[in-house]
Symmetry: C2
Subunit: 386 residues, 2 copies
């Protein structure tokens, strides 16, 4: 493998906006003030100050009143994904429902727990409700209703789309019909560029089955390994009963709590504009170089552009060719719930410099052209067209 | 419940020796130097510097060469306990072996995973090998050999005893006879007061089945939530395949790495003497006030004194009476693998002040005397005598 010059692989935010100087000041303050607390175990919910700050974050964004005692800090949102799936599982082979294309970390955890996954096709509004209804009916008939529905309904990973409010309400109705919890992973929520913000499913239905996952990785940094779960009793207790790590990291929590004590808006106003600019550069690059070749999403938030390749691209050859040219991306198969190879790839644009994006997109497009078996122009009416 | 004045409950080290000033300096240095790394995911092994420092720690103490690439940082040693049990489980109902009295955190995790636990009685040398051999023979005959043996062989929690080298070798021979991994939890290892240090089981047998767990909670602080697993391939890969939290906390790891880059001896020389003094005060208090009443361990390291109560103490009444007098402790039943109530209690002495220990022990002993049904003096030849 040659050196990677254009790494569109991993979903990370912009390192240039990491608030180094403020965090240095805060760390000193916090270690001093919370020395005694650091010599204690943090409890299974974790640092009260950070729970309060994150509850306020949710209230502001989603208009839902969140009790900090119903908020569980986790070791990144991935611990939330894994812990909730563990807590809801009776035995290996249990069924779950999720989007046909979803976050590879989640897929890996569910595979490892030996869940039987049922994938629901996506369109520009997220998970398709007609198919969800059909599958729930079928699974109910087969007496293997899913333990839960996992959905990334805002800035979906990998597609970038947002589920409209109406569809969220449909999903709630379907889930409630069978008493199935929805695990809503909203970890990109604050990486917002434009358009109306849709309320979280968790905010639209206060029945106690549902679970909400969020992260501080996208608004602060992955190295802090902080995320959280919202859940109401008795679901909250079911989840806590499965937690056996003696609680989340207190030091990182205390620093993040101080950093966000006035809310997250100020920092988001610093971090989002450069990300929006990178999203624009990515989409403009595709428009300039691949308009006759590909379709792609223009996500109103989040960190990913989902690209539909022409059917006649040899996708193994493309991956090797792109790597040889210094371009890294994640293949469509990484996101498919059954690992099926499909004509897609995902571009994560947050961590590259603007110059890397401007230079990298044409290199990728050249690689795609070299791996086609025809020269015909391609036009899609939908990113999800077969 | 009245206020707790004398909290012998939780196993914590001495808050007075928490290195606040040094950590403040280090935090500033580390956030500055590792800002870019903090915006990355830490990988499933975690911070290289801390892995290198902890590998050196193990080499110094146990004389075993540890490759930092075979060391997995975890969210406290409890994540190590849970993760290894998850990785080694085929299905709920699988058997495991452990000490009859063990760490409640571990018991809770194993119960939650629905392991079938087989407890082996203890004596002053730890797990009894005659019973282990007998149980392994029986389980082999019943075709349900354990997935692993979990043992706290040094400063055993709750008893405080150390397993002698000869017995460690016997245990290895028995485990190897059936190809069973030993999960050795050595999280108190550096809290050493006196006597010869016994080598870790992991250091005595380099076959790749065995697993070693350790912690930074006892030598630094629980709020850092740092521990680690040692395991060699292919066991290492089995464990990593079950990890789905996107890696351990990088910020806390980076600070701990800098703190321990010259080794852990300097800090241990600060933290251990006050703990030894507290152990002495606890045991001297028992000798002065309960010599006719109880037997107890005098642990050469670790944070706990295990106390044998007279048989005629009403243990429910005692717990309530002690709480009413302001004394907290953990009951014997908390440590029993089946939760069986037995005439024991555990005193954790690390977190109290010397004055609290001096004052608290006579209060506890008074509570014990008040809950007896006779006044006869009691003499045990062994802490483990029936």
């Amino acid at each position: 493998m040659s050196d990677i010059l254009y790494d569109f692989g991993s979903g990370r935010s912009d390192p240039a906006t990491f608030p180094t100087e403020r965090l240095k000041k805060i760390a000193v303050e916090v270690i001093d003030r919370e020395a005694e607390a650091l010599t204690n175990y943090p409890g299974s919910l974790g640092h009260k100050g950070l729970r309060t700050a994150m509850a306020a974050r949710e209230a502001t964004r989603e208009g839902v009143q969140v009790d900090p005692e119903h908020l569980v800090l986790t070791n990144g949102s991935m611990q939330g994904v894994t812990l909730t799936a563990e807590a809801l599982q009776d035995q290996p082979g249990d069924t779950l429902i999720l989007e046909e294309y979803s976050y590879p970390g989640t897929l890996g955890a569910y595979r490892s727990l030996r869940y039987d996954m049922v994938g629901i096709p996506l369109d520009e509004g997220g998970m398709r409700m007609d198919v969800l209804e059909h599958e729930l009916t079928r699974l109910n008939r087969e007496k293997r209703l899913p333990k839960f529905i996992y959905a990334i309904s805002t800035y979906q990973n990998p597609t970038g789309f947002v589920m409209p409010r109406e569809r969220r309400l449909e999903m709630i109705t379907l889930a409630d019909r069978y008493g199935i919890p929805i695990i809503e992973d909203n970890c990109y929520a604050d990486v917002h560029y434009e358009g109306e913000i849709q309320p979280a499913i968790y905010a639209l239905d206060d029945r106690p089955e549902h679970i909400y996952l969020c992260s501080l990785s996208k608004i602060l940094a992955p190295g802090f390994r902080l995320g959280y779960i919202l859940a109401r009793p008795p679901m909250l207790n079911t989840i806590l009963a499965r937690r056996h790590d003696a609680g989340p990291n207190y030091l990182a929590s205390a620093i993040a709590a101080e950093f966000y004590k006035e809310g997250i808006a100020e920092h988001a106003e610093t971090t989002n504009p450069p990300l929006k600019r990178k999203r624009d550069l990515t989409c403009e690059g595709l428009k300039a170089h691949a308009a006759d070749l590909c379709a792609w999403s223009t996500p109103p938030g989040g960190l990913f552009v989902w690209v539909r390749l022409p059917d006649d691209v040899d996708r193994n050859k493309l991956y090797a060719n792109a790597q040889a040219k210094g371009v890294n991306y994640l293949r469509g198969s990484s996101f498919h719930y059954k690992g099926v190879d499909a004509p897609y790839l995902r571009l994560a644009f947050g961590h590259l410099t603007e110059t890397q994006i401007i230079e990298g997109i044409p290199v990728l497009v050249k690689a795609i052209r070299e791996c086609r078996t025809s020269n015909e122009a391609v036009t899609y009416t939908s990113l999800f067209e077969d």
